[in-house]
């Protein structure tokens, strides 16, 4: 019996089928838990699915690379999904056009706060330079952040993890922050979470309302553009300033 199981395992672990199926199963299970718990923010489905997958891969001694051979088919869809964000964005175009100046000012302030506060705190607490540079673009969507980190001398794969942690944190905390600040407007809620925690924040905002989701997508997209354009010259300048 065991040798047969072993052979099946050897076969399965060599095909993309297993990584792909595991990803979908873990997500379905995480989503089920999340829905059962009435969308409790602490049970963020991305976080739950990642924890389950890490456990399964560790227990079965499967390297991440083997898993990713299959999971890359899901990962690939991030591209077309990003393009698809144009549709909710367009639905809000009328509203958006009337408040362009407040949105752009907020974008600049939020974007710089996100990057500089992270690097500043990490520097004060003695993080390595590589970690700080991987941390700087943590608030923008994974593909942009990885590119920026590489330019700054960080580790792109570490950045991907920090980006996702940031997104999960934002998705978990935003509700409490807004409640404490008494902010109800879905435009404000969406735009702020999009700037601070990119696609995972945006995914969360879409669960609140289409309007919140659209403005989160806008915040995420604009913050991606701004961060990619600004960090590669802001950070070296700061480093020189601080000696």
């Amino acid at each position: 019996m065991t040798p047969v199981l072993g052979e099946i395992w050897v076969y399965l672990s060599a095909t993309p089928l297993l990584g792909l199926t595991l990803t979908l199963l873990a997500y379905q299970a995480a989503l089920w838990l999340y829905l059962r718990a009435n969308h409790h923010p602490l049970l963020n489905p991305v976080m739950l699915a990642v924890i389950m997958l890490v456990l399964v891969l560790s227990v079965t001694d499967t390297p991440y690379e083997t898993y990713f051979d299959g999971a890359q088919f899901v990962h690939f869809l991030l591209g077309p999904a990003t393009v698809a964000l144009a549709i909710p964005l367009h639905a809000q175009w009328g509203r958006l056009r009337s408040m362009l100046v407040p949105l752009l000012a907020t974008l600049a302030a939020g974007s710089l706060t996100a990057a500089l506060s992270a690097v500043g705190i990490a520097a004060l607490l003695g993080a390595s330079r590589e970690s700080m540079m991987s941390l700087a673009p943590k608030s923008v969507t994974t593909p942009i952040a990885m590119g920026v980190a590489e330019r700054l001398g960080g580790l792109p794969s570490l950045t991907a993890v920090l980006v996702i942690c940031t997104g999960i944190l934002g998705a978990i905390c935003a509700r409490y922050v807004y409640r404490a600040l008494r902010i109800d407007d879905h435009v404000v809620r969406g735009f702020a979470i999009g700037i601070a925690s990119h696609g995972i924040g945006t995914a969360r905002a879409f669960q609140v309302s289409e309007q919140a989701g659209a403005f989160a997508a806008l915040g995420m997209g604009l913050n991606g553009l701004l961060t990619a354009a600004s960090l590669p010259w802001v950070l070296p300048w700061l480093e020189r300033l601080m000696g």
């Binding site: 991305v46 898993y67 999971a71 393009v83 698809a84 144009a86 549709i87 991907a160």
Partner: protein
């Protein structure tokens, strides 16, 4: 659905090509999103099919981050070594940037909307 998916991929492809050709520091899909957005404004909105497919994809946006998130496995050692600065930086900077952006936008919108009105 296939037509809509094809359209999304074509826009992504055009975005990628532009990024490579012009050496832009932005990912292709974001350029694709911008191009599709402009196209939708010119054509006055998406068709039923594109709207349906986009909503379907975006409803499960969370799923798409799972494979990259699982990459946390590769960095357990560094995370163990530097967990304190990384955790504090992530938590505080995320809370701070949500707060700054939300308060500022609320204030600015209030001013734009409330111009000439008494509170």
């Amino acid at each position: 659905m296939i037509g809509a998916l094809t359209l999304l991929l074509v826009f992504q492809l055009v975005g990628e090509v532009l990024v490579r050709a012009l050496d832009l520091p932005i990912p292709g899909p974001v350029v694709g999103m911008g191009l599709l957005f402009v196209t939708l404004i010119v054509r006055r909105g998406p068709g039923e099919q594109l709207r349906g497919t986009a909503n379907g994809v975006l409803q499960h946006l969370s799923l798409l981050f799972v494979p990259a998130g699982t990459g946390v496995m590769l960095h357990f050692q560094r995370l163990a070594d530097e967990w304190l600065p990384l955790t504090v930086a992530l938590v505080f900077s995320t809370l701070l940037s949500i707060t700054v952006a939300a308060l500022l936008l609320q204030r600015l919108m209030h001013r734009t909307r409330g111009r000439g009105e008494s509170r």
